[in-house]
Symmetry: C2
Subunit: 451 residues, 2 copies
Amino acid sequence: MLPLKDMENFVEKNFDQAIEDLFRLIRIPTVTAKGGHNSAQAISELKRIFNELGFKTSTAETKGQPVFTAVLDSNKSKTLLFYDHYDVQPAEPFDLWTSPPFEPEIREGKIYGRGVADNKGHIISRVFAVKMLQELRGELPVNVKFVIEGEEEVSSPNLGEFVEKHHNFLFADQTSCIWEFGGKNASGFQEIWAGVKGICYVQLKTMGPKKDLHSAYGAVVKNPANHLVAALDSLRDDKTDKILIENYYDTIIPPSEELLQTISKIEKEFDEEKLKTVLGVKEFIHGLTGMEMLKKYYLSPTCTICGIWSGWQGEGGKTVLPAEAHAKLDFRLVPKQTPEDVIQKLRNHFRDHNFNVEIEWFEGYPAAFTPLTDPFVQVVEETMIEVYGHEPWIHPWSPGSGPLHLFAEIPVLSIGVGNAESNAHSPNENIEVEDFKLGQICIARLMEKMA
Amino acid sequence: MLPLKDMENFVEKNFDQAIEDLFRLIRIPTVTAKGGHNSAQAISELKRIFNELGFKTSTAETKGQPVFTAVLDSNKSKTLLFYDHYDVQPAEPFDLWTSPPFEPEIREGKIYGRGVADNKGHIISRVFAVKMLQELRGELPVNVKFVIEGEEEVSSPNLGEFVEKHHNFLFADQTSCIWEFGGKNASGFQEIWAGVKGICYVQLKTMGPKKDLHSAYGAVVKNPANHLVAALDSLRDDKTDKILIENYYDTIIPPSEELLQTISKIEKEFDEEKLKTVLGVKEFIHGLTGMEMLKKYYLSPTCTICGIWSGWQGEGGKTVLPAEAHAKLDFRLVPKQTPEDVIQKLRNHFRDHNFNVEIEWFEGYPAAFTPLTDPFVQVVEETMIEVYGHEPWIHPWSPGSGPLHLFAEIPVLSIGVGNAESNAHSPNENIEVEDFKLGQICIARLMEKMA
């Protein structure tokens, strides 16, 4: 094992270069949700970064954005695989950013820019962990592979086909995987996420008259905005937060004793007030607190309106009966739910309740998780205790989502350089400089411990 | 009475000049909903037009956009007052216009441009009726006054104060009023509207976390978009179209026998299929037809979502829990309802149902109408039979709205140069050239008949 001091020295010596690589990556606005026009540029940048370290890189075309892979085969028995993504969330609303989203900068110990937490900062900190071991040890103690896709923020519609095609490459014997995101929570503790919830994201549409009408016709012409509102409200009881889609909870199994104990362990350390401050809310839904709040957080499926729009949104009072209305909804799925099943139930619901709602498109994937008894959990935990000086919180899975189910045949854990105020999908996305540095050491030490 | 032939000749001879005046007015984008930055320019144009005919013009400042008035006192016993407005609806969505909204043009017998039907075409046709009588008779048979305000499309918030201040000017003895809009219906018949529904227009807002959050928090953070949807859906039963606000129908009186007879007379001539084609709908709400449809059209209050917006509206799937949500609603009011009463009931409803919805602003006015027994109705009807060659349809009131209640102490009727496909609040707003011409003759003959 390398002395921590040497590792720290490496990080300081290489800090400017790491930041330069990170900034170059952030400056490319890889917003796949808006067309993904910059994928080629991002991949060429990744190629440069990985080739310099001797990785063998390649780019696999898909029906959407290409998947970039890099492999550094040191002829070892064990392999560490990283799953990351070069695409980012849209940066709107721009005016809420203190500095422009695609012009990264460091202010008061934090690195700001769209994608720095989700997940370009992770990519670069992992790359520099590899560089560190190369420089300080001469060679790597494990084989290293990266899979960096370009469609994570749009629910990875083409990753499944890629994984199927490259199954042997990805899941070679004794491979473990570090997932894209992670970091420390509102109480300052590092976290390990052993999985993710699934997601089903849908865009809905209702149609009315062939064009916007004078709203005087509201007495006799059906309004698609009113109809959409009624349809959306029928999906979920706002008072109880219960999803009202028929048989929605059928596939969901009650949590095991073990799972409840894991959550209960988190509850002991959990700083509820801190999280409320970070999120900017006065209370959690229904005033839930403690174990009840955490159980809902981990174990509940959700039905969230991510966007809705219809008619006049400008200043003042345009009296219009809109021609159409749209909404975007996401359902976070707990284990055993599938997007296909949710869509089928949604279609049935609209049909049975006489809602004339079109599902314009949908995307998603099921939940997936690594059992906490897997030996990789212990290796990661021990590494983090050594690097960060405290026991990390271990979560059964994240309430967020990712295509982790495609990798579920090997152990997969999420750790990283983010924090509770990283604003991953919001304006002023950031990571702390200190976490960016420690993340490099943590990953390097993990590779040493794995071997 | 002037021979119709002479009147027609005048219209043809002066057509180019009338179109030039009209186009100059339309080219000024007087969208008060978006700030009303062009009012001064519109008023200066009106001044030029009216001064050329010898009107005495003046401009009354208000808290919002100024009110323009023009008077031509011929020392007659009777006065015809016109209520018009120089402001127009916003022209969005621009891409649905065949020609740009503020670059008027004539195509296939129609004049296109934002405001040509609502109501700049009316203003110019009425001005040229005055010019016609001046040229063909030497003097006018009645005194003529115009009130042209700049806030009709935003519910005339300052017209009440103006009317109060200028009461004697407006409502001199033996004054009758022609209202801003009117024209022919889908079946090709001219119409007389004897009043308007009232309106209460509100903008609503719900608040959630202090910024947009990752939608993974949907399990424990209340979503303002879901909450707004629930609040809106609680206002109106989408299946029955019944407004669910407590005591909403209390102030509404059942229609009189006379009123039902008026509607029944309309029903006999009414071409339902034609109107459906014009509106671009397959059926009316609940499949209503005949007398039931018309009763709903005239007699029902409405609750219409004119606009709604929250969260991500761009391409693809941004997984966000929005910080806030907004909606614009209009309630069309039948006689005896008032905006103030609607707002009070709305506040009570939100309070009683534990909806945390802010009313950001509201505006509106009550319904108003002229009894069909008023002698002015007969004069207008006879004039239209002579000019258009058929009996006009007489409506008790329009399902649209206007600040007519401020003028209700004198008889007020709506007739004009629009048509059922004028797209008053939609893209490709237009009037027919033929109606623009006949409208001049109709108003000129009306002045002759009044005297």
